[in-house]
C-alpha cells in the first residue's frame, strides 16, 4: 500500500487570526465559554476539592492536584465536553513547566484548536 503524502500539521492546523474587532470579540467569548466548560469538567472529575478551588487562574497541577492519572481521566471528560479528541498528556508534554499550565490557558488552547478544525 502506498503511503499517503504527509501534510505539515503546523500548516494544516493554523487557525485564522482575528481580522476585525468583532471577530476578536467572538474569539474572546469563545475562550470564556471554553473556560466555563473546562471548569465544569474539572468540578466533576475533581469532585473532592472545594468549589473555591476552581478558578481560571488555578494551576492544574499545583492548585488542583492533577496527576498523570487524572490527566487521562480529564482527557476523556474534556473530549465529551468539547466533542473532539483531547490528548491532554501531550499538552502537558509541550509546556516547559507542567505546573505552569492554568485552567484558562488550557481552555484557550482548546478553544483555539477548535477554530482550526
Amino acid at each position: 500500500m502506498a503511503k499517503p503524502k504527509k501534510k505539515s500539521p503546523a500548516k494544516r492546523r493554523l487557525p485564522a487570526r482575528p481580522r476585525t474587532s468583532a471577530e476578536g470579540e467572538r474569539q474572546g467569548r469563545g475562550r470564556q465559554v471554553a473556560t466555563e466548560k473546562v471548569l465544569l469538567v474539572l468540578r466533576r472529575v475533581l469532585s473532592q476539592l472545594p468549589p473555591r478551588a476552581f478558578k481560571g487562574q488555578a494551576s492544574l497541577v499545583k492548585d488542583l492536584g492533577v496527576d498523570s492519572l487524572k490527566v487521562a481521566e480529564l482527557s476523556i471528560a474534556l473530549e465529551d465536553a468539547f466533542d473532539k479528541p483531547v490528548f491532554l498528556g501531550e499538552v502537558f508534554a509541550h509546556v516547559e513547566d507542567p505546573t505552569s499550565l492554568t485552567v484558562e490557558q488550557l481552555a484557550e488552547f482548546l478553544a483555539s484548536s477548535g477554530e482550526s478544525t
Binding site: M1, K3, P4, K5, K6, K7, P9, A10, R13, L14, P15, V45, L46, Q48, L49, P50, R52, A53, K55, A58, V61, K62, D63, L64, G65, V66, D67, S68, L69, K70, V71, A72, E73, S75, I76, A77, K84, P85, V86, F87, L88, G89, E90, V91, F92, A93, H94, V95, E96, D97, P98, S100, L101, Q105, E108, F109, S112, S113, S116, T117
Partner: protein
C-alpha cells in the same frame, strides 16, 4: 491556596512517628516535588531532635506510591532539565536513606517504581497482602527510561544482582508474599491489621537492619539483555552495567551514574513515546470505568456462591475482603479465543496472568456485573478491554489480521525467518506462535509462521507498514461497528495483545506519525507553531 493540605500527615506516638501519605486530589499516591519537599523539611527538622523511628504509610486504598510525577518526566526535554527537575526529589531519597533514623515502609497497595525505591531508602519494609500490593519497577518496562531514585544500587545490594535484574530489566511483578520470599521486605502480613502491624513494627525496630549478603552471581543474566530487540538493547545493557556496578563500591558514585543514565534516557524519543502510551492506557481505563477512584464506601466485588465459573471465582476471590461483600450472582463464563463472542464473558487470550489482556465481552451481561468485573480485573492488574463483538472475539479477529497479513507477505516472496526477524526486531513481544494459536489458524503457512525464529535484526519497514495498515483497518472496523467505543481502547487492545513496542508509542500513534491514518488523537493541534501562537503566556517549546 486550593490544595490546602500537605501530602504527608504527621502522627507522633511513643515509639515512632507515622507519616501518612495521601496525595491531595489524586486517586493514587504520587511522590512528586511537593511530597519530597515536605519529607525533606521534616527530616531536616528531625536532625536536631530525631524521633525514635519513622513509619511511612499510605492513606490511599490500593496505592502505597504509584509514581513520582510522570508529567514532569514527560515535559523534560534535555538531560540538563531532567536532572534539574529530578534533583530535589532525589535529594530527599538520599536524605531519608542517610538520616540515621530507623525507618519502616508499610506497604499496602501498588508499590511501583519510585515507590519501591522509597521503600528501599527505608531501613525496613513490611508488606501487607492485598490484590493491589504489587512490587514493580516500571521505569524500563513501561516508560523506556532507567530508574532514578536508587533502585539500581539499593536493589542489587539488598537482593543480589540477579533478583534486582529480574525486577529492573525483566519487568517482574512481585506480590507481597513473593517480595517476602525474595527478601525485598522483612515482614509479610496477611492484611493491614493494626494490632499485628504494631507488633511487627515493635519487633522489627528492636533489631538492627540486616543487609543481606549479596548473592554470588554478580552478573546480570545475559539473556535479559541479549533477547531484547535491537532498539532496546543499548538501554538494557547500560542498566545491566549500572546494576552490576551498583552492587558494590561507593553509593554516591552509583547515584551519580544512575542520575546520568536517567537524564540521558528520559529525553529520548523512545521514552517520550512510551510515556504517551501511558496516557492512552489510562484514557482507555477511564473510558471504560469512568472515574479512576472508587466512590466512598464502594465495596469490592465478591462473587456469591451462584457464580458459576469456578476458574473465574478462584481468580477473583483469592483475596479475602473483610468488608461487606457486594454480592453478584449470574454466570460470567471464561471464554476461549475460539468461542464466539455473542454471549458475555471474559477471555484471557494470552493466559490469566496479571498484566495480561482480558477481553471482557459485555454483551449479554448485566451492566452492573460488567462494571464490577471490569473494576475487579483492573484491580488485579489485568489490562481490561471491554468489547461488544458481533461474532468472533476481537482478540481473535486481530490475531487473524496479523496472521493473514503475514501469510500475504509469504505469498509475495518473503520467508518465515525474515518475517519472524522483522517481527522481533521491530519490537513486538508476543510470539507469533501464540497469535497463530489465538487466531486458530491452520495449514502449512500458519505452522511455518508459528515455528519461525528470528535469524537477523533486520526490520522490513515496508512489511511493518503494511501490517500496521491492516491492523488499523481492523481496529477501525471495531470502532465503526461499536465493538469498541473509543480509539484508545483499540490502541490498548493492539498493544497488549501483540506486544506492540512501547518505544513506538502505540499503533495509532505510529500510524499517525507515518501518515498512514489521520490524526485520531488531535495531536496535530500540538504543533509548536500553532500552539505557541495562540496560547498567550503558555511557554511552548520551539514557539
Amino acid at each position: 491556596v486550593t490544595l490546602d493540605r500537605p501530602p504527608f500527615t504527621v502522627e507522633p506516638s511513643k515509639h515512632w512517628v507515622t507519616l501518612w501519605l495521601d496525595t491531595p486530589g489524586g486517586s493514587v499516591n504520587v511522590f512528586g516535588p511537593t511530597a519530597a519537599r515536605q519529607l525533606g523539611a521534616l527530616l531536616k527538622g528531625w536532625a536536631r531532635k530525631p524521633p525514635p523511628a519513622i513509619v511511612l504509610r499510605s492513606r490511599k486504598r490500593g496505592s502505597f506510591i504509584n509514581g513520582a510525577g510522570l508529567l514532569y518526566a514527560h515535559a523534560a526535554t534535555t538531560p540538563a532539565s531532567a536532572r534539574r527537575v529530578s534533583a530535589p526529589v532525589r535529594a530527599t531519597y538520599e536524605a531519608l536513606a542517610s538520616c540515621g533514623i530507623p525507618s519502616v515502609a508499610v506497604i499496602e497497595g501498588n508499590c511501583f517504581g519510585c515507590g519501591l525505591e522509597l521503600a528501599l531508602a527505608c531501613t525496613h519494609r513490611i508488606a501487607c497482602d492485598d490484590v493491589q500490593t504489587r512490587f514493580v519497577m516500571t521505569e524500563l518496562r513501561d516508560y523506556s527510561f532507567s530508574p532514578l531514585f536508587g533502585g539500581t544500587y539499593r536493589l542489587p545490594r539488598l537482593l543480589g544482582v540477579r533478583a534486582a535484574a529480574e525486577l529492573v530489566l525483566g519487568g517482574a511483578t512481585w506480590s507481597a508474599r513473593e517480595a517476602k520470599r525474595r527478601g525485598l521486605v522483612d515482614v509479610w502480613l496477611p492484611s493491614a491489621d493494626e494490632r499485628a502491624l504494631s507488633a511487627s513494627l515493635a519487633k522489627l525496630l528492636a533489631i538492627p537492619p540486616q543487609r543481606r549478603k549479596p548473592a554470588l552471581v554478580q552478573r546480570v543474566p545475559s539473556a535479559l539483555v541479549e533477547l531484547q530487540p535491537p532498539l532496546r538493547r543499548p538501554l538494557y545493557a547500560a542498566c545491566a552495567r549500572l546494576l552490576e556496578q551498583g552492587a558494590r563500591g561507593s553509593e554516591s558514585q552509583a547515584a551519580q551514574r544512575e542520575a546520568g543514565l536517567f537524564a540521558a534516557s528520559v529525553t529520548t524519543p523512545s521514552a517520550k513515546r512510551a510515556m504517551s502510551f501511558f496516557f492512552i492506557r489510562h484514557m482507555a481505563r477511564s473510558a471504560m470505568l469512568g472515574s479512576s477512584e472508587r466512590a466512598p464506601g464502594e465495596r469490592r466485588l465478591v462473587l456469591d456462591k451462584d457464580f458459576s465459573s469456578a476458574r473465574l471465582r478462584a481468580l477473583l476471590t483469592r483475596q479475602a475482603d473483610a468488608r461487606p461483600p457486594l454480592v453478584l450472582g449470574g454466570d460470567v463464563p471464561i471464554l476461549e479465543p475460539s468461542d464466539r463472542g455473542l454471549a458475555g464473558g471474559v477471555c484471557f487470550p494470552l493466559g490469566p496472568s496479571p498484566g495480561g489482556l482480558c477481553e471482557l465481552v459485555a454483551k449479554g451481561l448485566d451492566p452492573r456485573t460488567s462494571e464490577a468485573l471490569a473494576r475487579e480485573l483492573d484491580d488485579l492488574g489485568f489490562e481490561v478491554v471491554r468489547t461488544s463483538p458481533e461474532e468472533d472475539l476481537l482478540s481473535r479477529t486481530l490475531a487473524r489480521t496479523v496472521i493473514h497479513t503475514l501469510q500475504a507477505e509469504l505469498r509475495a516472496g518473503s520467508t518465515p525467518a525474515a518475517i519472524a526477524s522483522s517481527w522481533w526486531a521491530f519490537g513486538f513481544t508476543t510470539p507469533l506462535r501464540a497469535l497463530v494459536g489465538i487466531a486458530g489458524a491452520q495449514g502449512p503457512t500458519s505452522r511455518a509462521l508459528a515455528a519461525a525464529r528470528p535469524r537477523s535484526a533486520r526490520v522490513d519497514v515496508s512489511a511493518i507498514d503494511r501490517l500496521c495498515a491492516a491492523l488499523v483497518t481492523t481496529l477501525k472496523q471495531f470502532l465503526e461497528t461499536r465493538a469498541l467505543s473509543h480509539p484508545v481502547q483499540a490502541d490498548l487492545l493492539a498493544q497488549v495483545l501483540l506486544g506492540f513496542p512501547r518505544e513506538e508509542g502505540s499503533l495509532f500513534l505510529r500510524s499517525m506519525r507515518e501518515g498512514l491514518i489521520p490524526d485520531v488523537y488531535g495531536m496535530g493541534r500540538l504543533s509548536p507553531r500553532a500552539a505557541g501562537r495562540y496560547r498567550s503566556g503558555l511557554s511552548v517549546r520551539g514557539a
